[in-house]
Amino acid sequence: MTERMTDPDAPPATPTPPSEPPRLSPIRLHKALSAAWGTPPGLGRLSAVNHTVLGKRFIIAAFVFFAIGGALAMLIRVQLATSETAFVGPDVYNQFFTMHGSVMMFLFAIPMFEGFAIYLLPKMLGARDMAFPRLTAYGFWCYVFGGAILVAALVAGVAPNGGWFMYTPLTSSTYTPGINSDVWLLGVTFVEISALTAAIEITVSVLKLRAPGMSIDRMPIMAWYLLITAFMMLFGFPPLILGSILLELERAADLPFFDPLRGGDPLLWQHLFWLFGHPEVYIIFLPAAGAVSMMIPTFARHELVGYRTVVVAVMAVAFLSFGLWVHHMFTVGIPHLALAFFSAASGLVAIPTAVQIFAWLGTIAAGRPRYDVPMLYLGGFLAVFVIGGLTGVMLAMVPFNFQAHDTHFVVAHLHYVLVGGFVFPMLAATYYWLPHITGRACERRLAVPAFWLIFVGFNLTFFLMHLTGLAGMPRRVWTYPESAGWDGLNLLSSVGGFLTAMGFALFVMDIVVQLRFGRRFRRNPWQARTLEWATPTPPPAYAFAALPRIADRADRLDPGAIGVALARGEGYLGFDRDGRMETLAVEMASGAPQQVVVLPKPTYLPLATGLATGAVVLALLFKLYLVALLGLAATLALFLAWTPSCGARADSGPLPIGMGETAPPHWEAARPPSWWAMVFTLAADATLFGSLLFGGVFLAVVGPAVPAPPIVLPPALLIGAGAALVAGAAAAAFAVRRLVAGRSPAAALLAALVLPLAAVALLLPVIGGLGDPTLHASRAVTFVTLAYLILHALIAALFAGFGLWRMRAGFLSATRSLDLRLGALWHGYSAAAGIAGLAFLCGLSLLGVVLPAVPGVEGGPP
């Protein structure tokens, strides 16, 4: 049942497991676990790492940003209510709509779903917390600080003003000389850190931290949705992060990635942006659809029909969504065949989406449906989202797109999809899970009128906007002439906007009323059949006093009975072991218990690290590069300070986990959560690097053919650097072998430390000999590629040094080799990236020589 080190050389694990901690009465168990898991009061709240606490904070912060984005929407509607309104001028209006879009997408939608995921996932999966609580907290601080920077810029009147997709050259330093664009590029990237940490956490938590017996095909459907969404984020966000880095480099250091006069191409930004931006839309929709798939079965009183079909459909959506980005670029003059391909592919997503909708309808048909407030909001979701989907299919048709693109028709479409596909389900979800958070049942009085105000107001605003767009009104115009004939429609849209706002105000009042006056209930007010309702409500910090064994699909459970048994400590880990915070990790597919995951206690380190990261961002914003470097060093040092509380200085061997079973602590297991986290981090990192290489090839092959100055790459240095990286990776792997075989890894670690540094020493003269990287995009790409490899080599050396330190500090043994294995993963990736990157550079310099001679290159300069 338990998993040991798989290495055949490994000595047998320590025998005779320690005995199980004593059983406690339910009350004393609750007290002991609360003491172990609780967040300190007062200022100590800032040290919180608990998922229940942080999930709530994410949700509340997201609602605050929703209010800010909504206020901006109202200002936009005031300005557009009539022709030639003298309310604000273009410079303010441009900040309004840019910030409205950016706040809604990056500071409301994504963090809102992250909050729901963080709060609910462990409870749905039967775990006591997420896999990396401190990372949750760090992500939260990055989110809040990044959002604060953006909002502060708005207050100061220097907010981003290039639209939420920030097309260059408009956002370049030539046309936006102020810091407006930098605020977006740096602030949003800062917030994206939290999206990436959440993605890694969700992936690992779903794959590893489940109740024993919950095999992967028994997971609650929402876990599938979140798992797939998190995967999409791992591959969707890196292209945007890379694009932001490149654009910021262009603005700050004049590296011409997007400048057509120097071999760059503004279309590269569009490709990178939409490579992220299209999946983003599904990243927002899928978690909401997951919530819908949890609520409908509860109110239909029937399990979700077509569970497997739905999972396949969601995977299909995820897969397809990465192949659709060009439909945002139909009018940039792309070849005929590509138009047809992307048009058909875009239409195709309608099918897996329809499959989900009909699975929900089928569930209602199979069950005995019951009406309640969440169902009302889900009805709104269905109506609005279906219309958004239908206009989406229309926009996928190329000829129609050529007319409707960049008009208010698209504004209408995107709000139908986002409000229909995200806001309505989230309102339903709020009513559905609020009782879980508060322990008070849902009241209907205000919820129903609030719904009708929002629903009618929304449709009044945006249904008419389809027509405004077809009447020729482009998006992002701050004013329009009366002669255009757009007045009447716009005025009605504005009236609708204010009705919607009143509806939301009523909703907020309702929530306050429910918090204060809701009727208390004991457990499971909706008679749901999933595990999150088996916790006490409101949930204690530890969520479950014991972890259940799951013997059926996780949407066929009886939370009432399970909850009572768990509260008595009947199940796994139903005890307090020295005040440690423990939960179980399982084998991914089968759900067999495998490791005891020991989680970290509350700490201020995530806050401090987030502050240091924020200092880096601010320093970059104000072009204080020395300060930025110091901040980076501080951030790194603080991250290292996270580690001493990880792992142990002595072998423990398998621990009793209750139910007569044992499992080793995670640092003695072969594939603990952190190992998987490293794998997924590297996958995201590789996507970033792949996007860079894609950019290089794109510029060389289809970018404006501006003759490139020669690039000198001394072969001896490149080969030497590649060899050093590979040798470093081999040394890191060898260090693991030595350690596992019970011998000292010191010499191998030293080699793993020195060899990447040697690679850096070889690459630095290559960068130095490159000549001015601002002359041409091909040089700039070469420069960034080399810088990427140097950075990875430096971090590899750092990992080796860390390994040496951990060895000296007594954290390593034949069974405790995790630290070295994480380092070896990084080393391996750095070597692979090194080989790929250096080969790419050689190819690029060859292309640079050959290409200007090739006739008929598309898109030459005018």
């Binding site: 029909v305 309608a350 909708i357 009909f358 007319q403 009104m473 002669s483």
Partner: protein, 216 residues
């Protein structure tokens, strides 16, 4: 109110050329289809809620198969075919630039350069012959703009470092409105232009007049 969208100087639903006419036709087909599909979904919702018995025993699989797979698949195929036929004219942009009017976007105005007319240039007003296909070669001098004459047909972006092409036709002489559709900064909203379609027999004179003006 719905009628408001169908009139107006910038309305894509008041087509004045074959490209725009095809798209308007496509729109009305799609709007009707979408209405039917939307109503069908809500009829389905009413049935599954109130009278699931109408669907026979174990209706879930059939619902998913027909509603999720077969029906949308068939509709999509039809729609793609219709869009292909109706859009052929638009997408088959001129491949060579001979005779194309050069459209130059710059913040915040449009200039037009006419070929073979002794350097005739106009700014803010585009002159085209009516009743003929006109090819455009679109470039930008600064940021991205988009060249759009809603009543004649689809738009195309003006991108620095690129040349994009589009072909449009005005059926009858007259004046049409043009706009910049891609956000280009402060005066994006003011980047309108005027399109004058002249009877073909008078077009040469117009250009000659322009050339004289430009020359001065």
């Amino acid at each position: 109110m719905a009628l408001a969208a169908c009139g107006g100087p910038y309305s894509a639903l008041a087509p004045a050329g074959p490209v725009a006419a095809n798209v308007a036709l496509l729109w009305w087909i799609m709007a009707a289809g979408a209405t039917i599909i939307f109503l069908a979904v809500f009829v389905a919702l009413a049935i599954v809620w109130r009278r699931p018995a109408l669907l026979g025993a174990a209706p879930e699989r059939r619902l998913i198969l027909w509603g999720g797979l077969a029906l949308p698949g068939a509709i999509l195929l039809l729609l793609l075919a219709a869009a292909f036929v109706l859009g052929e004219r638009l997408v088959a942009a001129a491949r060579e630039d001979e005779g194309a009017i050069e459209v130059i976007g710059r913040r915040w105005e449009w200039s037009f350069r006419y070929p073979g007319a002794a350097g005739a240039v106009s700014t803010g007003t585009l002159h085209i012959p009516a009743g003929e296909d006109v090819a455009f070669r679109v470039i930008s001098e600064d940021v991205i703009h988009a060249f759009w004459i809603p009543r004649l047909g689809g738009k195309i972006d003006a991108i620095p470092g690129h040349v994009t092409r589009i072909r449009l036709r005005a059926d009858a002489p007259g004046v049409y409105g043009g706009v910049c559709a891609e956000f280009c900064g402060t005066d994006h909203a003011a980047m309108f232009f005027r399109v004058e379609a002249h009877p073909p027999e008078r077009y040469a004179d117009v250009l000659a007049g322009l050339a004289r003006e430009t020359g001065q």
